[in-house]
């Protein structure tokens, strides 16, 4: 039987296009200090540090964990770096939680970040090696065909993506840390923006952000403050070039959800999970993940989105923080989902709090939708 693990501190930087005033070290330290302050602790109270970020090519710093150890108070302590592409923030939290649940450490500081302004992620994701032809430009170029395939299979009307783009940005207006703040955003505004990778419009994509997020994870006996309890955590991956792979609803995502639901005793996610923070970097991924995560039957996800069920005042709110569509420091984006889930069940989400949230899902995916990380956190002990 694993030890109980709680989130006792959450720290975020404000997410923005360029944090010109801080180095990478200053950025991660800002999030770490806020998480420690939230937990009423200092670096002295931390046993180990786990850091996550997306590919090194994004900032061009090889093994940044070595450089960032000092900034995170890791001198003389175990430190490790996690990398699972876009899902890394979620994986980082789960590695940290595993260290607590396994009884290795009492308190673990988990930090994830990206300083996208130091280069250009689209460049870094499209290196165009010799012998191949240059066909995919950036993440949008990769995911657009799978969104198109979702639309074909389900017959979803073209405006569904627009609805999510508006809904998440309206939520972001309530989140002090969110990057994109677009007062007055509506469907007409989203539809007036150009198609970058058809069927993905400009305002249906995530921004490029600088930012960091940190959590303090604790065992039950070392817990301070208001804990959010980890009820389950799971990671899955699948080979990207497997024959018969369903790129619209990957098996690894279904398996990961089934595992985390089993651990948390969830049999009907739409009814039992009060709020979900799900990795939606392109608006169409909300209906796609609604199906993949079992909130809707296959082919029915877009109907749930269209009905308003996933809005902040809907019966199954998704991304009340504004989600990845509103803030995207890539390496941190998954951890922000996990952190926001914890804030919700601690009743600490401020203006975007879902009333009475007791059980929340944090979700991240990465690579070519081949890595998944999820956790469920609750107000009560598991």
């Amino acid at each position: 039987m694993a030890q109980r693990c709680a989130v006792i501190g959450v720290g975020q930087t404000h997410y923005t296009t360029k944090r010109r005033d801080v180095s990478m070290a200053g950025l991660v330290r800002e999030a770490a200090l806020r998480a420690l302050e939230d937990a009423g602790l200092t670096f002295k109270d931390i046993d180990a540090v786990v850091i996550g970020k997306a590919p090194d090519l994004f900032e061009g710093v090889m093994m940044p964990e070595a450089y960032l150890a000092d900034a995170l108070g890791a001198a003389g302590k175990p430190m490790m770096r996690v990398h699972t592409a876009g899902s890394v923030g979620g994986s980082t939290a789960l590695v940290g939680a595993g260290l607590v649940q396994g009884g290795v450490h009492e308190r673990v500081l988990v930090v994830a970040y990206e300083k996208q302004s130091e280069s250009n992620a689209t460049w870094a994701l499209s290196t165009h090696l010799p012998f191949s032809s240059s066909l995919v430009v950036g993440a949008g170029g990769y995911f657009a065909p799978h969104i198109r395939e979702y639309m074909r299979r389900t017959g979803a009307p073209g405006h569904i993506g627009t609805l999510v783009a508006v809904k998440d940005r309206l939520n972001a207006l309530r989140n002090p840390y969110a990057h994109l703040k677009i007062p007055g955003i509506d469907r007409a505004m989203v539809e007036s923006t150009p198609m970058l990778w058809e069927p993905i419009r400009y305002l249906e994509t995530c921004p490029s952000s600088d930012g960091a997020c940190a959590l303090v994870l604790s065992s039950e006996r070392a817990a301070t403050g208001t804990p959010a309890w980890v009820h389950g955590g799971a990671m899955r991956s699948e080979p990207i070039f497997r024959a018969g792979r369903d790129t619209v609803s990957p098996q690894a995502g279904k398996d990961c959800a089934a595992d985390v639901y089993r651990q948390a005793g969830v049999t009907d996610p739409r009814r039992q999970i009060d709020v979900a923070e799900v990795y939606v970097p392109f608006s169409w991924y909300e209906p796609m993940w609604l199906e993949n995560l079992g909130f809707a039957a296959e082919g029915e996800g877009w109907k749930l989105t269209e009905s308003g069920a996933t809005a902040l005042d809907g019966d199954t709110p998704w991304n009340p923080s504004g989600g990845v569509l509103s803030s995207n420091p890539i390496g941190a984006s998954g951890l922000i989902r996990f952190a926001e889930a914890a804030l919700q069940v601690r009743g600490a989400a401020g203006e975007h709090q879902v009333d009475g949230a007791r059980l929340a899902l944090g979700h991240a995916y990465g690579g070519g939708a081949q890595f998944f990380a999820m956790w469920i956190v609750g107000r009560e002990k598991p």
Partner: protein, 300 residues
């Protein structure tokens, strides 16, 4: 000097060698310190520090005290004006800002040029530092200009590789060089993978059997790319997942020979190769896939 215009002439009035200026003790001290790479102000009887120093306090008319105070070297812009097109006599030959700069420790501001690169980079409140001239003579131009603080550096990273397509990729590209797509059948699950690879991602078993696939297939899905990239084809271009006949995994390839918005799910396509004498073991030998004109395939 004669001019083309009647009743118009150019004339230069310039004292040969330039006027001299006797500095007096106060300005002289300031310039001597400048030559030594230091910035000083002078204290007034009321205790204010004037930079640049003056001999007589403009507030009271009294002589200044003779006490010199080191200030700066950094300061804060209190006001500025952007000069988009510098003139001959200006300190910089590129756009710059004239600014009033209050050096740290001073009570008055000094006029100087700020080399900020663009007008957004300088405003009241911007912190600036002097950029010293290599050879100093005791003149205000011993400071060639001021510049904003260093907040960012450029860190070029460049790794050069020699890529040798060996193993499975070599086998596949050798096929491309002679105009065929080489795939491989997994001995375990029987799935056909293209490009050819050494192991099955599903079973993990070694793929031993090679198979040559026809250049025809079906578009399973696609994107219309409008985002330009210097390394990608010109926009809009269609990148499609094409399931070659006989294969079990789609390949990503360009679709051409058809307007982007006429590409469809299920469309039948055929590889269009570059002329035989231009063919190389590289995907550049496949120009694109073009519609065959056959009826679309119903996708599940």
């Amino acid at each position: 000097m004669p001019s083309d215009e009647p009743l118009t002439a150019e004339h230069v009035l310039e004292f040969p060698g330039g006027y001299t200026r006797t500095t007096g003790p106060v300005i002289g001290r300031f310039l001597t310190e400048l030559r030594a790479g230091r910035l000083v102000g002078v204290r007034t009887a009321e205790g204010r520090v004037l930079v640049p120093p003056l001999e007589y306090d403009p507030a009271t008319g009294e002589p200044v005290t003779g006490e010199y105070v080191e200030v700066g070297p950094a300061g804060t812009v209190t006001a500025c004006a952007w000069v988009p097109e510098p003139l001959d006599g200006h300190p910089l030959d590129r756009p710059f800002a004239w600014a009033l700069i209050k050096l740290d420790g001073a009570d008055t501001a000094l006029v100087h040029a700020v080399d900020a690169g663009n007008p957004k980079a300088v405003a009241a409140g911007t912190r600036v530092w002097p950029v010293w001239r290599g050879e100093r003579t005791g003149h205000i131009t011993d400071i060639s200009c001021f510049a904003p603080e260093v907040t960012k550096i450029v860190s070029p990273v460049r790794s050069a590789y020699t890529l040798r397509a060996g193993g499975a990729l070599g086998v596949f590209l050798e096929g491309i060089g002679r105009g065929v797509f080489v795939g491989g059948r997994c001995g375990g699950c029987g799935k056909v993978y293209v490009p050819y690879r050494l192991s099955c991602p599903e079973c993990g078993l070694r793929i031993a059997e090679r198979t040559e696939l026809p250049g025809t297939g079906t578009v399973t899905t696609f994107a219309i790319n409008n985002l330009p990239d210097p390394r990608a084809p010109e926009v809009p271009f269609v990148s499609a997942y094409i399931l070659l006949d006989g294969a079990d995994v789609p390949m990503i390839a360009l679709v051409g020979g058809v307007p982007a918005h006429e590409v469809r799910h299920g469309m039948r396509v055929r590889a269009v190769w570059v002329p035989e004498d231009e063919r190389k073991p590289s995907m550049a030998s496949v120009r694109w896939f073009a519609p065959t004109g056959e009826p679309d395939v119903e996708l599940s």
